[in-house]
Subunit: 376 residues, 2 copies
């Protein structure tokens, strides 16, 4: 485990796994949630605040960074870690997902995807080789293969063709990435909601050989039940001794269910994005802080939370900040949501270690079902 990523599986509870990811820039206790630092910043958070929530790894978006300030500029400035002042490990995505969701005039061929920047219309191209080059310039500790996130609904033939394209791109990604001493590459299982295609994708990727395996193409509107079904048929096909990463997921209940099904790593914009729009995640479910009933509520958002939003301020104040569109409102609720997610992961880790995951899940679900604290 010198240099390259190493994964140590400590214990299991059912299918759930408690492990440690070792990287050249430090360790990550799993199951882990990675805050999303889209454009070289976890939005509205100083990096030391991200660290204070308990986060050990963050995600950077290749698409955003290749457009602005460009990977070449980041490299010239010493790499993404130095640029954004995050000295822990960074995972970068391949850029493929954002190209498909944000860029204009997209055209996919076997060669790659050509598109126009959503910022200034510049014509650009992303191929497996270019994605690896960008992620290397950024200095990612964990890079992701370029894949196509199959747009659903699609016929089985379409899903299969897309999955096969992703496999070919995975092979080219591996080839282009090479064997750097201290950086790792993860493959991404595709195949939509089709168990046999997921299995074929997983087998194809394992045949190529990666340092870890992600499950992609979920949390795109298929619903929690369908997502869990895919995890049920896919997770156990992946190598037990390597990390498993469920991309772009999700709500707290999605994460809990995915951990139960054997997932080790997560990322999602939900805690940060919701924090900016006044939605808070708490031990008693989701709170819309702009709701009028919080206007004179002197209690904290979540009395079990140690974040500054909960330690220092009332719901009334947080509500005021969001109604007045104050930046401090976005700052505090983002911090709270990231703290909640990290606390949730810590709780899951402790539960798995103690072989008490079932109890933890029941308690989690009871808390969420309780609903928000009653109005005064």
């Amino acid at each position: 485990m010198t240099g390259k990523i190493g994964f140590k599986l400590h214990t299991t509870d059912g299918s759930a796994r408690r492990g440690t990811l070792h990287t050249a820039r430090g360790t990550v206790e799993t199951p882990a949630f990675m805050p999303v630092g889209t454009a070289g910043t976890v939005k509205a958070m100083r990096p030391q605040s991200v660290r204070e929530t308990g986060a050990e790894i963050v995600l950077g978006n290749t698409y955003h960074l290749m457009l602005r300030p460009t990977a070449e500029r980041v490299a010239k400035l010493g790499g993404l870690h130095q640029f954004m002042k995050w000295d822990g490990p960074i995972l970068t995505d391949s850029g493929g997902f954002q190209v498909m969701s944000l860029a204009k005039l997209r055209k996919i061929t076997d060669h790659g995807v050509s598109f126009q920047s959503h910022i200034d219309g510049t014509a650009l191209e992303l191929t497996p080789e270019r994605s690896m080059e960008i992620q290397t310039l950024l200095g990612a500790d964990i890079a992701m293969v370029l894949d196509e996130c199959t747009p659903l609904p699609a016929t089985k033939d379409e899903v299969a063709a897309s999955m096969q394209l992703s496999l070919r791109w995975a092979e080219r990604s591996k080839q282009a990435f090479g064997e750097p001493a201290d950086r790792s590459l993860f493959g991404i299982v595709q195949g939509g909601l089709e168990p046999d295609l997921r299995a074929e994708s997983a087998a194809g990727l394992m045949n190529i050989g990666f340092d870890g395996y992600a499950i992609g193409g979920l949390s795109v509107g298929e619903g929690q039940e369908a997502m869990f079904k895919v995890l049920d048929v896919t997770a156990h096909l992946l190598p037990a001794e390597q990390p498993r990463y469920l991309m772009g997921v999700g709500k707290p209940a999605d994460i809990v269910g995915a951990v139960v099904r054997g997932i080790d790593m997560f990322d999602c914009v939900l805690p940060t994005r919701s924090g900016r729009t006044g939605q808070a995640f708490t031990r008693r479910g989701t709170v819309n802080i702009k709701n009028a009933r919080h206007g004179e509520d002197s209690r904290p958002l979540d009395d079990q939370c140690r974040c500054p939003a909960c330690q220092d301020f009332s719901r009334a104040y947080l509500s005021h900040l969001h109604r007045a569109d104050e930046i401090l409102g976005a700052m505090l609720l983002t911090w709270h949501n990231l703290q909640y997610y990290q606390d949730l992961m810590a709780g899951l880790r402790t539960a798995i270690k103690g072989n008490k995951l079932a109890e933890f899940v029941t308690e989690f679900e009871d808390g969420q079902a309780t609903g928000d604290i009653e109005p005064l």
Copy 2:
């Protein structure tokens, strides 16, 4: 000096004064700059970060708070200090200035000013009595009399009439404010650019008797030279043993010049507002961080500054954040600007104490004239 505000003048250097303001909630070393916490938050800053810059007192805006969340609600929640988690002294303005600059359908009579909220159009009224009531509900340590900030240009007769109205309102403000044990009221000298009207206003206010005296109606487009002329003829008319506050000023050079002319207290939205739009104040003058030449500059914004923006990040990163409209950009540059202002005040205080203000001013002006650090 128990309870009510007390001002201790330690030393002078020419007309400049080094003092300490004592309030029930702590002391303020003067000359002092008060960050503006418009709607119950110094924008983009946690209160503990405001404190870390060296700020000892903040300003709250009566107009904004009376509209949202309302003074009555703030009072119900324990007052402005508890609401915004600032345990140091707070000065509130009277609301008059913002009514004139922000509200709709304003109508001034001797009774007061009626207007419509710029947020939701609610019809409201601000009188000296209501302004005192609101500032008392907020729990301000220092309240300001309601005055009319005379719109310039105006004829001398108009300025005189406006100043006389402000004097009548000052008297009613004093009456309505009463004699609370631990809170103070400042009068506001008006009179435009007319020395004799300024003198008449100052004499009238001193006749009523206040805990401190502000100079209002400046920094509204009259220019630095005109402003300094008013200070030259006004400051020395005010009681030496009481604090003097120049409202809404200003740029660093304005503050330095006003301190030289005997002013003790300042407030201005410039450092916070500029921080949100990418303008930074430094020891070498003003920097527009969005300027292309900062894009690959790995140096700090100001290598003598101890704020997180300068300690942790490059100009290139700050430039990226502002171009990408990232909240962290606003957070960091706001922090930097507030740090710069507090460092400037600390430098002025040390210089006055050491009888070296002239040297300090020369060094300050040389630094500003140097211009921004040359491009790489």
